[in-house]
C-alpha cells in the first residue's frame, strides 16, 4: 500500500534518491516482506500447523477464535495473549542476556531479509552480489542466542536444552551451508538475481536434488520441526532453553522458530524453486513487484506447510540419533551435492551464457 504512494510522491514532490531509498527500505523491512508479513505468515503457519495436525488426528483444531474462518485468527489471539501476560524474570537469572537474547535472536534471523530480493524490480535495502553468503552468515548467528537464553536462565532443563541446541547447530548448520554453497557453485554466482534468472529452464531442486534434500532436512532441524524438535522436547526438558521465559518473552522465543522458518524457506524458494519464475517481472508496481513477490510467498508457504505437516507424522529423535543422522546422512548428502555440482560445472553439462 505504501510503495505506490511513495512512487507517486517521488513523481510529484521530486524526492531525492536517498530519501526515496530510505522510505522504500523501511517499508521493505517493516511492512512487506519484512516484519508485518513475517508476523502474519508466522501466525497463519502456527494455525495451519495445528489445523493440519488436527485433520490427521480426527479432531477440530483451533475453532473458537473467529469460528467462521476456521479459527484462522488463533495465532493472532495467542500473540495478543502473550503480549499482555506478565513477564517473570527469575531472581537467579543473568538478567541482561536473559532479556536481550530473544530479541537479538529474532533480529539476527530477520536481518537477512534486508539482503534478499523478492521481486525483479524493487531491490532489497542492501544490494550486494555476495548476498547469499551474507545471508547465511547472518542467520547462522541466531542459534547462538538460543544457547545464551538457556545459559542465562539458570535452570537445569534450560541448560540441558541449550546444550542440545549447541550440539545440533554444529551437526546441521554445516551441511546446510555446504549444500547452499554447492548451489552457488552450480549457478556460479552468489547474487540472488542471477541465481533466480539461471533457473528459467530448470529449478534448482532438479538441477541438484541432493542439495535440496540436505538443506531441507537441515532447515527442519534449525527451525525445530519434527522429527528434530529435540532442544525443546516437552516431556523431557519442559521447554528446553525457553523454560524460564514467560509472557511476551516466551512468545518471542516460540515465534523465533516460525520466523526462521519463513526466512529459510524464502532462501530455499529462491535457490531451489526458481523464486518469482515463471513471472519475469514487468512494468509498474503490480507486475514488477507485487505479482512476482506473491509467487515467491506462495512457494515459501508451500515449503513451510510441508515442514509443519511433519508434526502429524513423526515423533522426535533422540539427541544422539539426530546427531548421527546429521553427520552421516545429511552431511554425506551435502558432500554428494557439492561433488555433483562440481561435476556438472566442470563436466560442462551446465553452461551459463
Amino acid at each position: 500500500m505504501m510503495l505506490p504512494l511513495v512512487m507517486l510522491l517521488k513523481e510529484i514532490l521530486g524526492f531525492n534518491d536517498t530519501i526515496y531509498r530510505t522510505v522504500v527500505g523501511l517499508g521493505y523491512m517493516i511492512i512487506y516482506p519484512g516484519l508485518l508479513l513475517v508476523v502474519v505468515i508466522a501466525a497463519l503457519m502456527l494455525w495451519a500447523e495445528r489445523k493440519i495436525a488436527a485433520l490427521v488426528q480426527l479432531r477440530y483444531g483451533p475453532l473458537w477464535v473467529s469460528r467462521r474462518i476456521g479459527g484462522a485468527l488463533q495465532g493472532f489471539a495467542d500473540l495478543i495473549r502473550f503480549s499482555f501476560q506478565e513477564v517473570i524474570i527469575p531472581r537467579r537469572s543473568d538478567v541482561i542476556p536473559f532479556l536481550l537474547s530473544p530479541g537479538l535472536a529474532i533480529l539476527f534471523s530477520m536481518l537477512p531479509i534486508a539482503f534478499i530480493p523478492i521481486s525483479p524490480s524493487i531491490h532489497p535495502p542492501v544490494y550486494s552480489d555476495l548476498a547469499l553468503l551474507v545471508v547465511i552468515a547472518i542467520i547462522s548467528l541466531a542459534p547462538i542466542f538460543i544457547v545464551i537464553m538457556g545459559w542465562a536462565s539458570d535452570n537445569k532443563f534450560a541448560f540441558v536444552g541449550s546444550l542440545r541446541e549447541a550440539l545440533l547447530i554444529v551437526s546441521y548448520e554445516i551441511p546446510l551451508i555446504i549444500s547452499i554453497i554447492s548451489m552457488a557453485v552450480i549457478y556460479k554466482s552468489l547474487d540472488f538475481y542471477e541465481i533466480v534468472e539461471r533457473q528459467y529452464m530448470l529449478p534448482g531442486m532438479i538441477l541438484n536434488p541432493f542439495a535440496f534434500i540436505a538443506s531441507f532436512i537441515a532447515v527442519l532441524r534449525t527451525t525445530s520441526r519434527f522429527p528434530f524438535e529435540i532442544s525443546e522436547a516437552e516431556t523431557e526438558i519442559v521447554a528446553g532453553p525457553y523454560t524460564e521465559y514467560s509472557g511476551l518473552m516466551f512468545g518471542l522465543s516460540m515465534g523465533l522458530a516460525y520466523i526462521k522458518l519463513y526466512v529459510y524457506t524464502l532462501i530455499l524458494s529462491l535457490i531451489f524453486l526458481g523464486g518469482w519464475l515463471p513471472l519475469q517481472g514487468g512494468e509498474g508496481f503490480l507486475l514488477g513487484f507485487l505479482a512476482p513477490s506473491l509467487v515467491v510467498i506462495l512457494k515459501l508457504t508451500l515449503l513451510s506447510l510441508v515442514a509443519v505437516f511433519l508434526r502429524a507424522i513423526y515423533g522426535r529423535y533422540r539427541l544422539d540419533q539426530a546427531i548421527r543422522l546429521g553427520w552421516i546422512y545429511v552431511f554425506g548428502l551435502s558432500i554428494v551435492s557439492l561433488i555433483w555440482s562440481l561435476a556438472l560445472v566442470y563436466g560442462g553439462w551446465v553452461r551459463w551464457v
Partner: protein, 412 residues
C-alpha cells in the same frame, strides 16, 4: 552398552557406588535433575535422575505423591462402599479391579455368580483393557513427541468408554460388578454396537501400525531401549505385558482362570526381546486378543439370571418388578450391613497393566478387618531403577511410557 543388560546384583553394586559419588566427588560431571511432580513428562510422581553428560547414572522413582490410603479407608467402610473405592486409583482400568475385590468377597460369602453375569463381567473387563492399553499407548506416543498417536489413542478409547457406558451406565467408574452378579443386563442393541466398534478398531489397528509401530522414528526410539532380560524380569517380580514382553508366558487369565476366561478362546501374546518396542507390540497384540475375547464371549453368552438367586430371593416386590422388567438390580437392604463370615480370602486378576492381588480379612463385622491390595503398577515401579540406568536422558520418557506405569495405581 546399557547397564540394564547386566545382572541385577552388579547393577545394585554400581548403584551404591554412584550414590556415594553423589554430586560432589566426581566434580561437576553429575547433574541431578528433578523430573516431577510438576513436569510435563512425569505424571503424578517425582523421578530423581542423576546424569553424567547425557547418560543417566542413577534413577530414583519417588513414589507416594498420590497416596490415598485406600486400604485404610476401606477398613472404615461397609463392604459395598469399597467397590467404588477400588476403582479410583486405577481409573483407566477399573473393572478388573472391582472383579478382583468382588471375587475375594464372594469367596468369603461362599457364593458364585450365575454364568451370564460372569460373561458380562468378562466383556466389560476386556473393554476396559482395550481402553487402558489405548490410553497407555497414547501416553507413550506423546512422550515420544508423536502427537498423532496421543490423539488417536484418546480418540479410539472414547469408543470403548462409550460402549462401557451403554452396558453399565457410567463412562469410567462403572461399579458394575456387585457381590453375586452384575448391576444390569446388557441392552438389546449392545452386541451390534460392540461388533461395529470392534470392526472399526480392527481397521484402525492397521492405521496404528502404519503411523506408529512401523514409523521409523518410533522404531529407532523404542528398539534396544530399556531391555529387560527374562531372568531379571522374574527376579524383580515384574508383571503384566511388561513381563510377557520379556518372554515369560504368564497371564492370570490362563494360569488361574476367573470369571468366564476358561471357556473363551484367546492367546497370550509373548515377545522375546524385552525392549520398549516389544512391550508396545505386546499391548497392541493384546488389543487384538481382547477383540477376540469379546466376540467369543458375546457368541457364547448364556441366557439366565444376572444375579445370584440367594440375593434375588431377598428382593422386595418392587425390586423384583424392576428386575424382571428392566433387568436392573436394586440392592436389598441387607447389602448395607453385609456381614461375610469370619475368615480370609484371596483373589487375583489380570488387570490391564498386570496381575492385581486382593486379600480380605473378615472378622464377621460389616467392615473388613484388613484389606490388602497389590496393584501391577506398584510391582513394576522398581523397573525405573534398573531399566533407565545407562540410557540417555531422552530415553527416560520412552521407557516410562513403554512400562505403562500409572502413579495413582501404584500409590493407591
Amino acid at each position: 552398552m546399557a547397564a540394564s543388560s547386566l545382572a541385577i546384583e552388579e547393577i545394585s553394586k554400581e548403584l551404591i557406588q554412584t550414590r556415594d559419588l553423589g554430586v560432589t566427588e566426581e566434580g561437576e560431571r553429575l547433574v541431578e535433575l528433578q523430573i516431577g511432580p510438576t513436569h510435563p513428562g512425569s505424571g503424578h510422581m517425582r523421578i530423581r535422575v542423576w546424569v553424567d553428560g547425557d547418560i543417566i547414572v542413577r534413577c530414583d522413582p519417588d513414589i507416594g505423591f498420590v497416596f490415598r490410603t485406600i486400604e485404610k479407608l476401606s477398613e472404615n467402610r461397609i463392604y459395598m462402599k469399597t467397590i467404588p473405592l477400588v476403582e479410583r486409583p486405577s481409573l483407566l482400568d477399573t473393572t478388573p479391579m472391582t472383579i478382583g475385590y468382588i471375587n475375594a468377597l464372594e469367596k468369603l460369602m461362599g457364593i458364585e455368580p450365575p454364568p451370564r453375569a460372569k460373561y458380562l463381567r468378562t466383556i466389560l473387563a476386556e473393554l476396559t483393557r482395550i481402553a487402558s492399553h489405548l490410553y497407555g499407548i497414547g501416553i507413550l506416543a506423546i512422550f515420544l513427541g508423536h502427537s498423532t498417536g496421543f490423539m488417536w489413542g484418546f480418540g479410539d478409547r472414547e469408543l470403548f468408554v462409550e460402549l462401557a457406558n451403554q452396558l453399565s451406565g457410567a463412562r469410567i467408574t462403572y461399579a458394575y460388578v456387585v457381590p453375586g452378579g452384575v448391576r444390569r443386563d446388557m441392552p438389546q442393541s449392545f452386541p451390534d454396537n460392540v461388533e461395529k466398534a470392534l470392526r472399526y478398531m480392527e481397521r484402525r489397528l492397521k492405521d496404528w501400525y502404519k503411523i506408529f509401530l512401523n514409523n521409523p522414528v518410533i522404531e529407532d526410539r523404542l528398539r534396544e531401549v530399556g531391555v529387560l532380560r527374562k531372568n531379571d524380569a522374574v527376579k524383580l517380580g515384574v508383571t503384566g505385558p511388561n513381563l510377557r514382553a520379556s518372554g515369560v508366558d504368564f497371564d492370570v487369565r490362563v494360569a488361574d482362570p476367573y470369571e468366564a476366561y476358561d471357556e473363551l478362546d484367546f492367546m497370550v501374546p509373548v515377545a522375546e526381546e524385552g525392549d520398549a518396542y516389544a512391550r508396545t507390540l505386546v499391548r497392541f497384540e493384546e488389543i487384538k486378543q481382547s477383540i477376540n475375547i469379546i466376540r467369543d464371549a458375546l457368541k457364547k453368552m448364556p441366557s439366565g439370571d444376572i444375579i445370584h438367586p440367594q440375593i434375588a430371593r431377598m428382593f422386595n416386590p418392587l425390586m423384583k418388578k424392576i428386575y424382571e422388567e428392566t433387568r436392573r438390580v436394586k440392592f436389598p437392604g441387607i447389602f448395607a450391613s453385609l456381614k461375610p463370615p469370619k475368615g480370609e480370602a484371596t483373589a487375583r486378576v489380570e488387570a490391564g497393566r498386570g496381575e492385581a492381588l486382593f486379600h480380605i480379612v473378615s472378622d464377621g463385622s460389616p467392615r473388613p478387618y484388613r484389606f490388602r491390595w497389590t496393584t501391577p503398577s506398584y510391582r513394576n515401579v522398581i523397573l525405573f531403577k534398573y531399566l533407565v540406568t545407562g540410557h540417555r536422558l531422552a530415553d527416560l520418557p520412552a521407557i516410562y511410557g513403554s512400562l505403562d506405569y500409572f502413579p495413582p495405581e501404584a500409590d493407591r
